[in-house]
Symmetry: C2
Subunit: 151 residues, 2 copies
């Protein structure tokens, strides 16, 4: 049975991607752009360098994503108060509203999924998923450290 686990996880990946895509169909948003919005929602106003680090992508890439988001009215670039090289990127009011809606929908989706599991098994399943996530994180970190030894 456990050989099926990765297939299940891959299926969940794919399904969540499709579900997300539906959530912002009709907007000029893409998955990557929404990832930027999530970062800003969680961390507040950030420099492009911070966003690049959080998303593990190049600075150039962030420039393009912010260009598109700024153009669509989702974020605004403002002067950094102390570092004149840097800009601060922040969500506009309408983007904050948009993220509030997405967050609510995520919560509803999670509740719907969990409600399918028998009540007395929910805690075990949630703990199991957390365990899997933690182990996977550890494996990926270890692999990264092996390839890229302490600088």
């Amino acid at each position: 049975m456990s050989t099926d686990l990765l297939n299940q996880l891959f299926a969940i990946n794919e399904l969540m991607r499709r579900d997300m895509a539906r959530a912002f169909a009709g907007t000029p948003l893409t998955e990557s752009r929404v990832a930027v919005l999530w970062t800003l929602r969680m961390s507040g106003a950030s420099t492009q360098r911070d966003i690049a680090a959080a998303l593990d992508v190049s600075g150039k890439n962030v420039s393009l994503l912010i260009d598109a988001l700024e153009n669509g009215g989702y974020v605004r670039r403002t002067a950094h108060p102390t570092d004149r090289r840097a800009v601060l990127v922040e969500l506009t009011d309408s983007a904050e509203e948009f993220m509030t809606t997405m967050q609510r929908e995520h919560g509803e989706l999670a509740a719907t999924l969990v409600s399918e599991i028998p009540a007395d098994e929910r805690a075990t399943v949630e703990r199991g998923i957390a365990t899997i996530t933690a182990k996977l994180q550890q494996l990926v970190d270890d692999a990264a450290n092996t390839e890229d030894p302490k600088p």
Copy 2:
């Protein structure tokens, strides 16, 4: 707690992507190309149209992916026995070997992850994940049918 569920699932997504990327670093393969190889591994020789349907991407996209894979020696285009418009795409011997290795590694990873869960909870957790996958699948299907009513 259940509000964290989606975050866990998103984290698993991201981690599996990174782990996969490591698995074929150094090859000319990308995530999308490997997705094609998986499809061929599971379904055997397929037309490009079948691959496009399985991956839910455009025919043009499949053309490009197959071009790249053919160029790298992973797949081969052969004539369709009965339909002269179509081509059959199939894995080369070396690609079959490559996929065998990937499949074995997937199995090992799944076993490692599952072994972190207390033995007496494994069945419950695996069943819970399967339940979540099924429900998610159903929600996505329903949404697709609502937008795109039976033609």
